[in-house]
Symmetry: C2
Subunit: 298 residues, 2 copies
């Protein structure tokens, strides 16, 4: 069995695990699983809609392969003929504005020249930033990182700040998390330990979210808070369509559009020159959408 | 006076004219004009919000100039040191779903090596396509084209079909219109006649929209129609953030983000695997979102 085949099976199991934990956390809606098959490969889109706590959730698995094109070579700077890519990616949009939006992705890329690597990350986008939550979230991430390699958190945390950044707004998407790409087996860890790290990250993801739902999912919501939620969802749309590499790559390379655009919020709004009132909760959150905040030791 | 200076003055006048006609058409809200100044140039954002018929409108004028970068050279394939760009661009989002979304842009680009060109276009995005409206709209465009050059409509109409196309959805943005780019003085017309053509297009724009408001602005709207409006606004967001060259160029080149993102609808929604019911009005519109429809002779 090739590495890619084994890893893709593990990722498929991970997808199922995440959906099961989130089914329990929501308690009302269940994930619907839709398999798809194209010439470039296959996948399963897991979709939850109109749950008690989760308004829209996507947990996608895919395994695709094909000719390694000049465009890819230009992007990745490796010389090869054929690639295989497999991964799980997920975004959760909550009903309640006091529960954050969250995103997770783990992926494995393999070329026929023997080169391969892992990438992934988790990042949290609270509509209203609560510092203790951000601290706890980063501590959980650091724990999984530290269990794998002592350098991971200190390397992957700033990487997330840089990646999940809306340069056209000069603001981060939220309180960040971790992000990593092109981590090759042998560089920090062997292939099995890198896979274990990715799977542990993937398993942390629904655990963290279940806890956030418990903490905030039943809070009352004012009209002003709901309005703010829609504006923040607008920012999420901007990030995904303007900046996110996976989305852009997927849409232009003929991926499964409906599966890719599951990352879109159910609704969103835009307001010209919107500025939160000075001293408001919204202004407080806006002021924290910055890189390089040490959430653990704030 | 250089060409760019004269043309930018004409474009600034055009912006004012468009706002004035639309103020009358709406009858309730008025455009607010905000000037901005950056190191790369200056502009005026005209914004109307919460009108009787127009929910959100942007009419932007700008004139920017600067170093002609390698990135631009790669994109445009000309050798120069300095560029100047000036233009008017506009998008109108109506309150009533029975009034279309509309977009117009005219622009002039000048390099210090003596090369210059015009670009622009108008396209119409009905939430519900009405064939007679599309026919009338294209006849109006053809008239302005024919007054300038006999080849313009037959050349610029398919260009719009290709440009205003969501490849990831395999659908056009609406019923198209005209689009043109890099039309150099001397190629079809001299610089003055090209400018006149652009100004006539710009003037047609609010006239067409005033007529569409009169025709459909007071129609009643069902809940299902409103839901469809939000989904079509979602598609509009997708086009602008994923495909539109002006938006992408503006956001990554450090343009005025608030002015650029005035093109966003006030709100939008996304629904996984949404399929209009067979035989419905929505399905009828969906089936007409195709290239190469001869709207005038349908």
């Amino acid at each position: 069995m090739t590495d890619a085949k084994y890893i893709s099976e593990q990722f498929e199991n991970l997808q199922q695990h995440i959906c099961q934990v989130l089914n329990v956390a929501d308690g009302k809606a269940l994930f619907e699983m839709n398999s798809w098959q194209k010439d470039i490969g296959h996948g399963i889109s897991g979709v939850m809609q109109d749950g008690k706590y989760i308004e829209k959730a996507a947990v996608n698995f895919s395994k695709v392969s094909g000719k390694y094109t000049k465009q890819m070579a230009g992007l990745l700077g490796e010389d090869a003929n054929h690639y295989t890519a497999t991964g799980v990616s997920s975004i959760l949009h909550p009903v309640n504005v006091h529960v954050p939006i969250i995103h997770m992705n783990v992926r494995y890329f393999e070329l026929d020249n023997g080169i391969s690597w892992f990438g992934g990350g988790i990042d949290l986008t609270p509509h209203y930033i609560i510092k203790e939550d951000a601290k706890w979230f980063h501590k959980e991430l650091k724990q999984v990182c530290d269990n794998a390699h002592p350098d991971f958190y200190s390397k992957f945390k700033p990487w997330a700040d840089d990646y999940f950044f809306l340069s056209h707004r000069n603001e981060t998407r939220g309180v960040g998390g971790i992000f990593f790409d092109r981590i090759k087996p042998g560089e920090y860890l062997n292939i099995n330990d890198l896979l274990t790290f990715c799977l542990n990250l993937g398993k942390l993801y629904p655990e963290v979210y279940s806890e956030l739902i418990k903490l905030h999912g039943d809070k009352s919501v004012t009209e002003q808070e709901r309005k703010w939620q829609l504006l923040r969802r607008g920012r999420y749309v901007e990030f995904n369509l303007v900046h996110d590499r996976g989305t852009k790559f997927g849409l232009v390379s003929g991926g499964n559009t409906e599966a890719i655009l599951l990352s879109m919020p159910p609704d969103a709004s835009w307001e010209y020159m919107h500025m939160p009132e000075e001293g408001s909760k919204e202004a407080e959150t806006q002021a924290l959408l910055k890189k390089d905040i040490d959430w653990i030791n704030q």
